[in-house]
């Protein structure tokens, strides 16, 4: 009826609708609140509760035309009619139901009346039965009391008989060794005997029993002491003794001391093994000596390295195995049986009050702790003997087994400190191991460096000269070139490090029981392996490299320069790639979670770079010093005033050029070329002509004219104003040109300073001219900025001219001829 226009539907659906409408009217809502809310407010909604006929009518009148109104009216009338008929139907239906209900109630009333009569009859019968039963029990009362009394007497007699027979029975039990029966029999009688001990007959029995039981206890004790009996027997013994009021404490002590003697035997066995092993260890050490053939080849270096395990009498795994199988398992057995005897027994009666479990537990802990301490000290001694870092898996497996077996104790003895102590030992062993690996790596590094040193020192066919230029004819045994040495060295170190990492990694393997201890998850990885091993090793490399600079600095180059160069390159390689590679590898392998601050990669790289820089600077210094020394000797030892006219370039200069060339080759093997200043000329000729024709004439021609002594210094000062200040011993860059520039700078500056300390004759000056020209011809190609060489050489010639008594320079063409010839 929501829409007024729809006519009433066919019968069944119409009924349902009517039904629902009625429900709505009476406030019974099937469809929930949504409907209610929807229809609630509109006063024009004919079905709504707020329906206002006035408003509705007004609205209709306003909105609808006459026709529509008519339609509406007829529709409404129709609806009212159908509603009326519905109401009638409903009234009829309900009326019928009401009538049938009245009928039913009437019927029920009749039935109840019948039932009431039957119930009354039943209660009468029950009363009769009760009466009879009371009567019967009254007649039987007397006889029952008599029977009870008789049965009481019977049991008493039985007990008495038991008591009188007791001594005999006990004796028999004793003979048959049926101790348990005897004890139980005695226990049953004991209280009674105690109670009636004032009667002489009972007293006699009691005394007899005492004697017998004493005997029995003696026998039990004896048996207990003998110890040869099985655990089950023992426990039975203990149980019986306890029941015989034997003091539990004493029993515990006895039991433990007995166990101790057996366990001590195990420990002694282990100790004996320990004492044997050092002897065999030294044998192992002897084996380690280096047979010392070509040490750089990987095959033989394996014999030199310290990663060989000492061939001890028994390896550690065997030792631990033995310890576990004998000592630990026996200990477990003892603990288990002890607990069964003294602690876990259900306590009954007076025994419970003595607090045996607490006392016994305390004793057990002390016992286990002392024994475990001895065992641990043995194990630790054995672990400490494990110096060789060869096969780590053996140690790890041994430790694993050790640790695993101790878990059994922890299960048996929950509160014990033993497992945690065991874990501590494992942790300590792991720490120790890392230290050993570190020192082994360090010695390995030193050894490899010694090898490299030997290889460098060996038949020095000049590392730069022949071996670099191919040396195809020479056999493969010839000294390896620098790059080969470098790669082999760095590979050795890397491989060694990797293998160490792999070995250490065993500690954290999944199947190892202690690997999930917090230490091995966290600190071991980050502090131990990463910091303690890898980072320390890298730092060690840097540090030892730096030491090469310092120790050799003062006391004359004890380190071959080539080694310095090699190490510098090594450190640089570490800086650029190796360090991050190693650390990433470590982090990945060990899943290092950095709870604690760790050394960042950048800091290590910076350190490596610093070391590389220092080494290279030192290399430059050393090489510069060698050449300087030659130049200095050559200047200082000559009598420059009385020298003869120059015909040749002095041999020293040729040596200088030669050495510089070989240094150039040497550095070139390891370092990149580097950048030169743009205007590098492709022939020495051209720069030479610039140098010779224009500059020197401007520069020192005026100084020969006596009138103007100021000009020289003025000119050179002006010149200097425009040229940059030259730092002689300045840090170099990591490339060949920079290194060579550094070396040449040092050499030429030395030359200059030495020249300034001497006085020259005419030919002395000319010789210097020739020498400088020769240097000029060859050195420019090595440096980044050839102007630098020009400048320094100009300065040398200029200074020589100043220091000359008779400054008449040689013709440029003559100089050229001499130089070209030489």
């Amino acid at each position: 009826m929501s829409s007024a226009t729809t006519p009433p539907d066919s019968d069944p659906t119409g009924r349902r609708r009517v039904h629902s409408m009625l429900q709505l009217y009476y406030g019974l809502n099937e469809e929930g609140k949504v409907v209610e809310q929807a229809e609630s407010l509109d006063p024009c909604d004919i079905n709504g509760p707020h329906f206002d006929p006035e408003v509705y009518l007004n609205k209709l009148r306003k909105e609808c035309s006459l026709g529509e109104l008519m339609d509406h009216e007829s529709c409404t009338v129709k609806q009212i009619r159908s509603l009326d008929s519905d109401m009638q139907t409903l009234v009829y239906e309900n009326y019928n139901k009401f009538i049938s209900a009245t009928d039913t109630i009437r019927k029920m009333k009749n039935d109840f009346k019948k039932m009431e009569d039957e119930m009354d009859c039943l209660s009468a019968n029950m009363a009769a039965i009760t009466e009879f039963s009371a009567h019967i029990s009254g007649t039987l009362q007397d006889q029952h009391a008599q029977i009870t009394k008789l049965s009481g007497v019977h049991t008493l007699l039985r007990k008495l008989q038991f008591l009188f027979e007791l001594p005999a029975r006990l004796n028999k039990c004793l003979e048959l060794q049926a101790y348990a029966q005897a004890v139980s029999a005695h226990r049953r009688a004991r209280c009674v005997l105690q109670q009636y001990s004032h009667m002489p007959s009972f007293r006699g029995i009691q005394d007899d029993c005492h004697v017998i039981m004493e005997q029995l206890a003696q026998q039990l004790r004896q048996k207990f002491r003998d110890g040869g009996s099985s655990a089950k027997d023992l426990s039975e013994c203990v149980e019986l003794l306890l029941q015989l009021d034997e003091p539990a404490e004493e029993l515990c002590d006895k039991f433990l001391s007995h166990a101790q003697s057996r366990l001590a035997a195990d420990l002694q066995g282990l100790e004996a093994e320990l004492k044997d092993s050092p002897v065999t260890d030294t044998g192992g050490l002897v084996q380690k000596t280096n047979p010392g053939s070509n040490p750089v080849s990987p095959s033989s270096s394996s014999t030199t390295n310290p990663f060989l395990s000492p061939s001890a009498g028994t390896d550690i795994l065997e030792f631990i195995d033995r310890g576990c199988n004998e000592f630990v398992s026996n200990l477990c057995l003892v603990i288990a049986s002890y607990q069964e005897l003294f602690i876990n027994r259900p306590q009954e009666g007076e025994l419970a009050s003595k607090k045996i479990p607490e006392m016994a537990n305390g004793k057990l802990h002390v016992f286990v702790d002392t024994l475990a301490a001895r065992y641990f000290s043995l194990v630790e001694r054995r672990i400490q003997e494990e110096k060789g870092v060869g096969d780590n898996s053996l140690l790890v497996r041994a430790l694993d087994r050790f640790h695993r077996r101790l878990q059994a104790i922890s299960k048996l003895l929950p509160g014990s400190a033993v497992p945690s102590q065991g874990t501590e030992i494992v942790v300590r062993a792991a720490r120790e191991r890392i230290k050993q690996y570190l020192s082994a790596l360090q010695t390995f590094y030193h050894d490899s460096l010694t090898d490299v040193r030997q290889a460098l020192a060996a038949p020095r066919l000049s590392v730069g000269g022949t071996s670099a230029s191919g040396g195809g004819a020479t056999s493969k045994d010839a000294t390896p070139s620098l790059p080969e040495l470098l790669t082999s060295l760095s590979n050795f170190i890397l491989n060694q490090l990797k293998s160490v990492l792999a070995s250490v990694h065993l500690f954290t393997a999944k199947d190892i029981t202690f690997s999930n201890k917090p230490y091995f998850k966290g600190e071991f990885c980050s502090q131990g392996v990463r910091e303690g091993l890898v980072v320390s090793f890298i730092k060690f490399i840097c540090q030892s490299s730096r030491q090469y600079c310092e120790s050799a600095g003062d006391r004359g180059g004890s380190t071959p320069p080539a080694l310095l160069l090699l190490l510098s390159r090594l450190c640089l390689d570490y800086e650029t790639s190796t360090i991050s590679y190693i650390l990433t590898l470590t982090d990945e392998q060990f899943l290092v979670q950095h709870h604690t601050p760790v050394t960042p990669v950048t800091a290590l790289c910076a350190e490596a770079r610093e070391a590389a820089q220092k080494l290279l600077n030192h290399y430059v210094k050393v090489q510069g010093l060698i050449i300087s020394q030659m130049l200095r000797k050559s200047v200082e030892t000559r009598d420059w005033v009385n020298t003869i006219e120059p015909r040749n370039v002095r041999a020293v200069m040729k040596r200088v050029v030669e050495d510089t060339t070989s240094i150039d080759v040497q550095v070139g093997l390891l370092y990149e070329e580097g950048v030169r200043k743009a205007h590098s000329s492709d022939s020495s000729k051209r720069t030479f002509s610039v140098y010779s024709s224009s500059r020197p004439q401007i520069r020192y021609a005026p100084s020969y004219t006596p009138s103007a002594p100021m000009d020289t210094s003025l000119l050179s000062n002006i010149n200097k104003l425009f040229s940059e200040r030259i730092d002689i011993f300045s840090p170099v860059e990591f490339n060949k040109v920079s290194v060579l520039t550094g070396i040449i700078k040092i050499s030429l500056k030395t030359f200059l300073e030495c020249v300034r300390l001497r006085t020259f004759g005419r030919y002395g000056l000319q010789q210097i001219q020739v020498d400088c020209h020769y240097l000029q011809m060859y050195l420019w190609r090595f440096v980044s900025d050839e102007n630098l060489v020009h400048f320094l050489l100009d300065e040398i010639v200029g200074s020589a001219a100043h220091r000359c008594l008779d400054p008449s320079p040689m013709e440029q063409s003559v100089i050229e001829v001499i130089c070209e010839r030489g």
């Binding site: 100021m710 300045s730 220091r803």
Partner: protein
């Protein structure tokens, strides 16, 4: 407050020899000896007027030869020694002589400074330290704080102790010692110790530093390989009798306690080329001056090994009257060993540096191109040291 700019004076000739006029304690005066093979050599007397920041110079002729070393008498202002090289018969020999400045040089220079360079007066020769038998002289040392009667000359491998008599007109060798052994034995430098009653001498040859007792003329200590390369110069700490500074071709400056000669007490490595000269300040021995052929002069503050109590700078004497300033000092950080300043006014190798004898806050440095630079200790530091 601004530090005064350095004062620069240029000589026409190249020069290596520089000394303060030791006996002069009023005026700030330096003596520079030139090196020229072609012209007459000169000694420039450079007076620095501190108030006007000006230089007054006078020139004396030194026609004997080019000057390698110069040193003034501690007793008489006008007396000085030079080591000069003399070429004769194509042989170069370095000789030494004692000279007296003519008495009029001072007045003459003030009246007409321009004339003085035109008509320079000549030094008056007092006597030669005859060394024909001993070879070239490396340097001549006056007895420190002495009466100007004793000098030592180092000639090749000989130490010669001279007595000057008859107002320095006669020199006689009173004793001598000779260094013998293998290797390079030529002395390169030396210093007469002002301590121990002036009975000790330190010399340098090659890489070794040796100490000598002048009473017995025997070696008392020897620091082998004191430097990686040649030792160029030495100086004694004026206040700590066992302390010695040395410098050399390994670019380092080292400090030694001569009682423990195995290791240097300290080592500085600030220069980038050979260090040619090292000088302690005469009154404040934490101030150290070094000159190097990297054309730099470096003033360092070596508090930790100076006679000043390290950590607090107030003398006990001053404590009473400077109660307040001490309070202030407590707020300040104690001075650390550090470089105070690097002076880059030179463009050629600096071969000599010298503190003024009159003003402890002033020093001069001389480079090969003849440039003399006079500098002061930065004021801030000066006040920190004084207060």
């Amino acid at each position: 407050m601004e530090d005064d700019a350095p004062v620069i004076y240029g000589l026409e000739f190249q020069a290596r020899a520089l000394t303060a006029q030791t006996a002069e304690t009023d005026a700030i005066r330096f003596l520079v000896g030139t090196q020229s093979l072609k012209f007459d050599n000169q000694i420039h007397i450079i007076d620095f007027d501190d108030e006007n920041n000006m230089i007054n110079k006078s020139v004396l002729l030194h026609d004997a030869g080019e000057i390698w070393h110069i040193s003034g008498s501690p007793a008489e202002k006008a007396v000085l020694t030079t080591c000069y090289s003399k070429t004769s018969e194509s042989r170069v020999l370095t000789c030494a002589a004692v000279w007296r400045m003519p008495p009029e040089w001072e007045s003459g220079s003030h009246e007409s400074p321009d004339d003085s360079s035109n008509n320079p007066q000549t030094l008056e020769l007092l006597c030669h330290l005859d060394n024909t038998t001993h070879g070239s002289v490396a340097c001549v040392l006056w007895e420190p704080m002495g009466d100007g009667k004793r000098v030592i000359s180092l000639a090749e491998n000989h130490v010669l102790l001279w007595d000057l008599q008859e107002s320095s007109t006669k020199a006689t060798i009173s004793s001598s010692a000779t260094l013998e052994g293998k290797g390079q034995l030529k002395f390169t430098a030396g210093k007469w110790s002002p301590h121990h009653n002036s009975t000790q001498l330190a010399t340098a040859n090659d890489t070794a530093i040796r100490g000598w007792d002048l009473r017995s003329m025997s070696q008392i200590y020897c620091i082998e390989s004191a430097h990686g390369q040649l030792v160029r110069d030495l100086d004694f700490n004026p206040n700590k009798q066992y302390y010695l500074a040395s410098c050399g071709d390994d670019c380092k400056v080292k400090f030694w306690d001569v009682r423990h000669i195995n290791e240097p007490v300290k080592c500085l490595e600030e220069h980038s080329h050979w260090v040619w000269s090292v000088r302690y300040n005469h009154s404040h021995d934490q101030l150290l001056l070094t000159g190097s052929s990297d054309s730099r002069v470096i003033l360092s503050n070596m508090v930790s090994i100076s006679s000043e109590p390290f950590g607090h700078l107030v003398d006990d004497d001053e404590l009473s009257d400077n109660e307040e300033s001490q309070q202030e000092d407590k707020g300040k950080e104690p001075l650390q060993d550090s470089i105070i300043a690097t002076y880059e006014e030179h463009e050629d190798s600096v071969y000599a540096v010298e503190w003024s004898a009159a003003d402890p806050w002033l020093f001069a440095s001389l480079s090969y191109d003849g440039r003399l630079v006079i500098n002061r200790v930065p004021r801030a530091l000066k006040y920190r040291i004084l207060l």
